[in-house]
């Protein structure tokens, strides 16, 4: 059974991947060990976990402008997420996704995206269509 989640038209290509979800925010500069491909900020809810090839699902972007360059460098070294989904992106992550050719979507019609998708779900992210499809629905709470 699939779940179709409508969002604003996003950036980047259609991709499929496994979700990594947290009710937390995101900055490539503040939160990541980009050489190891893991979340490194001790207080982050995904601390210690690998983000490589995941569909990251987080609340919003925070902090500085560096992420706009970093996403492309991360992709070039093969240590990048496949896509990022936010409740609300900021300008930097949108610009960085455009520069990196990475899928990014935000502003979901059905509410908090960090509650609509669970870690481990297979999802298809289709930014031009403004659509995210969850192939396996999260278990009921």
């Amino acid at each position: 059974m699939t779940l179709r989640l409508r969002c604003h038209t996003g950036i980047g290509p259609r991709v499929e991947g496994e979700a990594l979800v947290a009710d937390d925010d995101f900055s490539a500069r503040y939160d990541l060990d980009r050489l190891a491909g893991t979340f490194s900020r001790p207080g982050h809810k995904l601390a210690g976990l690998s983000y490589v090839d995941k569909v990251l699902v987080l609340n919003t972007a925070k902090g500085g402008v560096a992420s706009a360059w970093m996403l492309r460098e991360m992709a070039a070294r093969g240590l990048a997420p496949k896509a990022i989904l936010f409740n609300a992106a900021n300008t930097i992550l949108a610009q960085g996704a455009a520069f990196a050719g990475m899928a990014l979507c935000d502003r979901f019609e059905d509410g908090d995206i960090t509650r609509l998708i669970a870690t481990g779900n297979r999802v298809i992210v289709d930014p031009p269509a403004g659509l995210v499809t969850v192939l396996e629905r999260p278990a009921p709470c």
Binding site: D25, R29, G43, A76, T91
Partner: protein, 414 residues
């Protein structure tokens, strides 16, 4: 998006590949934020430290720089944010020749593109502050929030690629902070106690940034009597942008768009949230370290002004940095040159501190230099930098400038 004839020509490649790329990039970004057209900008400011750029980013800039001069030069004055390596002082920090070479390549590419290498995150204090209503395309969140809020200019947070695109074309998509409707207050805070000193201003900024938590929230503050100083606003804004993703604030009676509360509100103002001493202590408590040995004391983020440099020199006069502790001071090349002429740099260095020119500690391979020097316990008066560096393997702590200098001299946090 509606494009005029010149914009269509750039997008079609009639004015060269760099401007074609720039237009394509901005059309894609503008589409995500429903921009209807472009707005001309008078300046661009690009964050392009090599730690962020990496090989991929440097190669991209070199690719732009390889085009004919008429196609590659920026069309409006374009400045740079702090660099990743101070080429006059990198080996002692443990930075490598590979890092330095990446830096040299970046400088060569930016210079070929016609960019003014100001290497500063305090351009509004040192180079050319924008005026109220001026549309600009600035990188560095601290520069953007100060210029939007304190000066009334109009800029989104522009990452390096988008700032580059704005410089090449002289325009940016008209969305976000370029529009009146995104500059209206959405959150209201009543401040019970005026902050004292740079660090307390940073703590207040960090707390409000954390409470706002989104690029699209605009806080308005009440209860601040009298104008803060430029350095106080600098630390306040930089921390707010760092803890949240906040590009604009208003202070009633202080900032230019908020002569009174009604001026920044559409309809009834939001309900006020009270900010008291205990709220500020709550944030500060995350960065306490009293009595701990300290490995490195950092004054940076944002780069120091002339006034801050003079204050550091005054506090160090007649004292010397402890043998097991480092004291690093980051400032802009402009401020450094003036402070060398004024003897301020000499006084700081005579006390055993290091003055870095054109860099900022957190964007100069902080993880690698920490590992190279065995630095983990870091102390700073910058709320922004202690927020950032936890993810870089440090145990950051916060103290005022006077206590930071005392810690550097004694080797322990007071």
């Amino acid at each position: 998006m509606k494009l005029n004839d010149e914009e269509q020509a750039m997008l079609a490649g009639d004015m060269g590949e760099p401007r074609r790329w720039a237009m394509q990039h901005m059309v894609e970004v503008g589409g995500m934020f429903d921009a209807g057209d472009f707005v001309p900008v008078s300046q661009a400011h690009m964050m392009a430290d090599t730690e962020s750029l990496g090989e991929a980013g440097v190669a991209f800039l070199e690719g732009l720089a390889a085009h004919p001069r008429a196609e590659r030069r920026v069309r409006v004055p374009m400045l740079t944010d702090p660099r990743g390596v101070d080429l006059s002082y990198y080996r002692p920090l443990g930075q490598t020749e590979e890092m330095a070479e990446l830096e040299r390549r970046t400088i060569a590419a930016c210079t070929a593109l016609g960019i003014l290498m100001t290497d500063s995150c305090v351009t509004y204090q040192t180079i050319m502050p924008p005026v109220q209503g001026e549309h600009v395309a600035y990188g560095d969140t601290g520069v953007v929030i100060y210029c939007n809020s304190v000066l009334g200019a109009r800029s989104n947070f522009e990452g390096g690629p988008s700032a580059m695109a704005a410089g090449l074309t002289g325009r940016t998509p008209r969305y976000g902070l370029h529009l009146d409707r995104h500059r209206r207050a959405t959150r209201r805070f009543a401040v019970a106690e005026r902050p004292e000193g740079l660090t307390d201003w940073g703590v207040l900024g960090g707390l409000i940034g954390r409470l706002c938590g989104s690029y699209w929230e605009v806080p308005v503050l009440e209860g601040i009597e009298g104008a803060p100083t430029s350095d106080e606003m600098k630390h306040f804004g930089a921390a707010m942008a760092s803890f949240g993703s906040t590009p604009l604030f208003h202070i009633v009676g202080v900032t230019p768009e908020a002569p009174d509360l009604e001026a920044v509100c559409d309809g009834p103002p939001p309900e006020p949230v009270e900010i008291g001493r205990e709220d500020l202590e709550g944030l500060r408590g995350n960065f306490g370290a009293s009595g701990d040995e300290v490995d490195v004391v950092v004054f940076a983020a944002p780069q120091l002004s002339h006034v801050e440099m003079a204050r550091v020199a005054d506090l160090l006069d007649g004292r010397h940095v402890h043998e097991r502790t480092a004291l690093v001071v980051c400032t802009s090349p402009t401020v450094a040159a003036d402070c060398e002429r004024l003897g301020i740099v000499g006084r700081i260095e005579a006390a055993g501190a290091v003055v870095l020119r054109g860099t900022c500690f957190y964007n100069q391979y902080a993880r690698e230099i920490g590992e190279a020097n065995g630095w983990t316990r870091l102390l700073s008066n910058s709320v922004k930098i202690v927020n950032i560096l936890g993810g870089y393997g440090y145990r950051p702590a916060l103290a005022g400038m006077e206590d930071c200098v005392t810690a550097a001299v004694t080797g322990r946090v007071p």
